[in-house]
C-alpha cells in the first residue's frame, strides 16, 4: 500500500505555507523533498506524520505505518546507547537492536551514556531508531545534519536496504545521498499570500 498525498494545504503559525501538494510514494520508492528554508518542509513532514492536522487535502495510507524522524533525536543523555535504543525497540515491539547498532557503527559505543556522544554519533543513534521501528514508511527531516561523509554513506546504505525490502522513504534534505530517488521541489507549491482586504485582514 502506498502513501498518497492529495491536494494538501498546510499552515505554520496560522499562515498557509504550502498548498496543492500532490504525490504518491510507492513501496520500494524514495522521494527527496527540496526547497529553500522556510518553504514548509518540516511542516509538511509533521502533517504527514500526523502531528498536526492539514488545512485541506488528505494523507492516505499512513496510519500506523510511518516512522518519523525529526530535527532532534529524542535521546536521553542519562541513558546509555543501548538503553535509549532498547526503549524505542520495546515501544515499537521489536526484539533485537543488534542489527540497528551495527548498521550505524554504534556497537563499540553501546554502553556509553548518550550525553557523552558527539553530535554526529547522537545523530547516528537517532537514525538507528528508524531501523527498530519496523515501520514501512520512513519520514525523515534533514537526517544527515552533522554527519560526516562515512556516516552519510552508512545512512544511504541503510535507506537502500530499507527500500530493497519493500519500504519507502520520504526525506527532506539538501545534500545528494546517491539514491535513485525522485526529487520533489516544493517551490511551486508555495501558498499565495492571504488576501488582506477582508475585515480581519486589517488586524493581521
Amino acid at each position: 500500500m502506498s502513501l498518497n498525498v492529495s491536494d494538501l494545504c498546510i499552515a505554520r503559525g496560522g499562515l498557509p505555507v504550502l498548498e496543492g501538494v500532490n504525490f504518491t510514494l510507492h513501496p520500494g520508492g524514495a522521494l527527496i523533498l527540496r526547497g529553500p528554508n522556510g518553504i514548509g518542509k518540516t511542516t509538511l513532514l509533521r502533517s504527514i506524520a500526523g502531528l498536526q492536522p492539514p488545512l485541506g487535502g488528505a494523507v492516505r495510507g499512513g496510519d500506523d505505518r510511518i516512522a518519523y524522524s525529526a530535527h532532534s533525536d529524542g535521546l536521553k543523555s542519562a541513558l546509555t546507547v543501548t538503553e535509549n535504543l532498547q526503549f524505542w525497540a520495546s515501544v515499537f515491539g521489536t526484539r533485537s537492536i543488534e542489527a540497528a547498532l551495527a548498521a550505524f557503527d554504534l556497537t563499540a559505543l553501546h554502553d556509553r551514556p548518550a550525553g557523552t556522544l558527539s553530535a554526529g554519533q547522537k545523530r547516528r543513534l537517532g537514525l538507528s531508531r528508524m531501523l527498530v521501528t519496523g515501520r514501512p514508511i520512513w519520514v525523515m527531516d534533514e537526517p544527515t545534519v552533522s554527519l560526516d561523509q562515512a556516516s552519510v554513506a552508512l545512512f544511504a546504505t541503510a535507506v537502500q536496504a530499507h527500500l530493497a525490502s519493500g519500504g519507502s522513504a520520504l526525506i527532506a534534505t539538501h545534500i545528494d545521498l546517491g539514491l535513485a530517488a525522485e526529487v520533489l521541489d516544493l517551490g511551486p507549491y508555495r501558498a499565495k499570500p492571504l488576501a488582506l482586504d477582508d475585515f480581519d485582514g486589517a488586524f493581521l
Binding site: 509533521r46 506524520a49 500526523g50 502531528l51 498536526q52 492536522p53 500506523d64 510511518i66 516512522a67 518519523y68 524522524s69 525529526a70 530535527h71 532532534s72 533525536d73 529524542g74 535521546l75 536521553k76 543523555s77 542519562a78 541513558l79 538503553e83 532498547q86 526503549f87 524505542w88 520495546s90 515501544v91 515499537f92 515491539g93 531508531r129
Partner: protein
C-alpha cells in the same frame, strides 16, 4: 507501556533526574514549621495533619514542570506521539512514574516527619491512608497542567497557577481525613470523597491531558 514506565523511573533516579527534590522540600517544610510556630506542642499537634498535607502537595507541585518539559525539549515527545502508544496511555504512564518517584516517597516519609510535628498517635494510620489515596490525584492533575504548559519556556509559574485551584478539593478532603483521624473522629466521609476524587481524575483526566497535548504538539 512497561518500557516507558521503566525508562521514566530510570531517568528519575539517574543523575539530574530530580528524584529527591520533592522529598527534600517536604523535609525542609516540616522541619522548619516547628521553629516558626514555636515550642507549643498542643498547637503543633493540632496543625500537624494540615501542615503535612500542604507540604506533600507543594512538594508534588515542585516537580511537575519536569514531567513533560524534558521530553519536549529533547524531541522525544514528538516521537512518542508518532509511536504505537496512544497519548492517553503515555500521559497516564508518565503520571504513574511521577507518582512512584515523588508521591510514594512522600507517603512513606510522612509518618517519620509526623513525629517532628507531635502528630497524635491515632493520626499516623489515617495520615498515610489519606496521602496514599490523595497523592495519585495530585500526579494525574499535575500531568494535565504539564500538558497544558508543555511548549512554554519557563512555564513553571503558569503551571502552578493553573494546577493550584484543581488541587484544592484533594487538599480539603485529604487534610480533613487526616485531621479527623488525628482527633479520633470518624474519617469515612472525607476519605470516601477523597477516594472518589482520585478515582474520577484517574479515569477522566488522561483524556483531557492527551487532548491538550495533541494541540500543543502542533
Amino acid at each position: 507501556m512497561m518500557a516507558l514506565l521503566i525508562r521514566d523511573l530510570r531517568l528519575a533516579v539517574r543523575a539530574g533526574g530530580g528524584f529527591g527534590l520533592g522529598l527534600a522540600f517536604f523535609l525542609i517544610v516540616t522541619v522548619l514549621v516547628p521553629f516558626a510556630v514555636g515550642p507549643q506542642s498542643d498547637l503543633l499537634a493540632r496543625i500537624a495533619p494540615g501542615v503535612l498535607w500542604l507540604g506533600a502537595l507543594l512538594s508534588c507541585l515542585l516537580s511537575l514542570d519536569r514531567l513533560l518539559a524534558l521530553d519536549w525539549e529533547d524531541g522525544s515527545l514528538d516521537l512518542l506521539a508518532t509511536a504505537p502508544l496512544p497519548l492517553e496511555a503515555v500521559i497516564s504512564i508518565k503520571a504513574l512514574a511521577h507518582w512512584i518517584a515523588t508521591g510514594l516517597p512522600l507517603v512513606l516519609a510522612a509518618p517519620l516527619l509526623g513525629v517532628l510535628l507531635n502528630l497524635p498517635l491515632d493520626g499516623y494510620l489515617w495520615l498515610v491512608v489519606s496521602l496514599l489515596l490523595g497523592t495519585p490525584a495530585l500526579s494525574v492533575i499535575g500531568a494535565f497542567g504539564a500538558a497544558l504548559t508543555v511548549g512554554l519556556k519557563r512555564g513553571g509559574l503558569l503551571l502552578s497557577l493553573l494546577v493550584m485551584p484543581l488541587y484544592v478539593p484533594t487538599l480539603i478532603f485529604g487534610a480533613e481525613a487526616a485531621r479527623r483521624g488525628a482527633m479520633g473522629m470518624g474519617v469515612e466521609t472525607p476519605l470516601l470523597m477523597l477516594a472518589g476524587i482520585s478515582a474520577g481524575v484517574i479515569a477522566l483526566m488522561p483524556f483531557a491531558s492527551a487532548a491538550v497535548l495533541r494541540i500543543n504538539l502542533r
